[in-house]
Symmetry: C2
Subunit: 309 residues, 2 copies
């Protein structure tokens, strides 16, 4: 492992930001680490945990002299944070982020970036149930995918900056994939945003029922519901922002989901067992594909905590 | 642990049936164990695994002399299996099942049961990702809930049989709850059937998209989708039967879910961040309730495999 950047500024130090800090420190791929956050309580924890070399309340102060600036705030806060520090970012610096939406965020970063700064949006597909600086883990990115969505083609200096950022994530243990930002937002709408929306919705529906109490829902949650509650416990601000920032792709995928659900509902109403069986057999194949890809353990025990019917 | 029944007949030996067999054997709460199944391949495995004292293709043969008969077939197959052996069930025997739907199954069992037989429907809320006799585990019911839905009030012999069946499940490590069968079907529609329906649907929707490939869906599934694929890999026949047998409750809950989803969709379209934030905060509380109940580990590491956004 070698030092790639001499000074890394991390703007926003929640789960992902603090994991980047921990991992970069452990791997030795950055020199100095500067952290800033809009919350004084978060900075207090960052100080107590001894995560950074410099802790500051000022984004402009944080980016001074940094050759790598990582925005790790909720996605709707990136634009404001960038505006607050853009003029202090030095030419030649790489600016990236970790948000789950790329189109809107990339637009905001690029619009505010001074000349000579390389804006290379990014998204590590990694996370954990808990949020905040205490929840971060140095190994969070090990074996995970990081998607980069570079915006400029044909500029050799930009290409070199992208290569360097790729090496950075690789040193943190991740595999890097390059993708068009619009496509990223559609892929993530399917694999992450819709699942979260559905999970939030089903938990909300269950909580509002008159005939079944919340206590019963919790007590008998092992039959499948519990898995949804874990997803629906994700950070509310982060997820509000994701749905607002990726509105078009989310609504498009949600439209397809709703159409399919209506057909499924109709099949149940009319007792069309064959249609149900056909779908349920097909979805099994996808699971097998994921296991074959090594994205998930196939051990029978892994399912144990799963519950059923 | 003491022997409660002298001969247990298990009709259908998949994941749950074979787990009942393994657990009952290990705890010594039954004398002889007889297994039957509609599939010769399953019986072959039961023989190879040495699970039962007697293995037979005939349900009527299986129940002869049994004081406990456990139906562990897919729910729509219970009626047929019961008809095939009802006349051979001896007076004083207890007949139960393990299905995820109680109303329709209880009706079928009661209709066919000879006089003097105690029909006490049941449902262990336990399971695993894999199916079949090889997937069974002696410890599957440890710490799990088993819901019994007794049908006759005021008959002391029936009450005694219910007590005995309760002890049986307790010896297998479960906690037993008594519930009205209609209410059971509604509770399970919320905590298990709707989650499965939604998971099957979302995986189907993802597989059918033109703009995102199946390979991409699998590759980036760590962001939430993967959890749904695990649920959507559940046994197709078992689940087809559950939706057909619990149609009314499932459609009722699905109607509520769809209504809520439309409101959520509208909030995204109109950029109503506060509404989203309010819901996402509320659903977090349910998760905390489940953790407080001890139904789930709260360890940060547990969430690690979860992925995010």
């Amino acid at each position: 492992m070698s030092q790639l950047y001499k000074r890394m500024a991390v703007i926003g130090c929640g789960l992902i930001g603090s994991s980047v800090v921990r991992a970069a420190r452990e791997k030795g791929c950055v020199g100095e680490i500067v952290v800033t956050d809009a919350s004084e309580a978060v900075l207090e924890r960052v100080r107590a945990l001894g995560l950074a070399d410099v802790v500051t309340t000022s984004p402009a102060e944080a980016v001074k002299g940094a050759d790598l600036v990582v925005f790790a705030t909720p996605v709707m806060a990136v634009a404001g944070a960038m505006k607050a520090c853009a003029r202090a970012i030095e030419p030649g610096a790489t600016v990236t982020d970790v948000g789950s939406v790329k189109g809107a965020v990339a637009e905001a970063l690029t619009a505010a970036a001074p000349d000579g700064v390389f804006v290379i949006p990014g998204h590590p597909i990694a996370g954990a149930e808990h949020s905040g600086p205490d929840a971060g883990l140095a190994e969070l990115f090990e074996g995970r995918w990081v998607i980069l969505t570079p915006r400029e083609a044909g500029d050799p200096a930009y290409a070199a900056a992208t290569e360097k950022l790729t090496s950075f994530w690789q040193q943190l243990g991740a595999q890097v994939e390059i993708m068009d930002e619009k496509h990223h937002d559609l892929v993530l709408a399917v694999t992450s945003h819709l699942p979260h929306l559905i999970a939030y919705n089903i938990v909300g529906t269950a909580a509002d029922l008159e005939q079944v109490t919340e206590a019963e829902v919790m007590k008998y949650s092992a039959g499948g519901f519990r898995d949804f509650t874990r997803i629906a416990a994700s950070d509310p601000t982060m997820w509000r922002d994701i749905f607002l920032a990726n509105k078009d792709a989310v609504l498009e995928i949600l439209g397809r989901f709703t159409e399919d659900l209506q057909a499924l509902s109709r099949a149940i109403r009319w007792g069309e067992g064959d249609k149900l069986h056909e779908l349920f057999t097909r979805t099994r194949e996808i699971r097998r594909g994921i296991i074959a890809l090594g994205q998930e353990s196939a051990e029978p025990n892994f399912g144990r905590d799963r519950g059923k019917h």
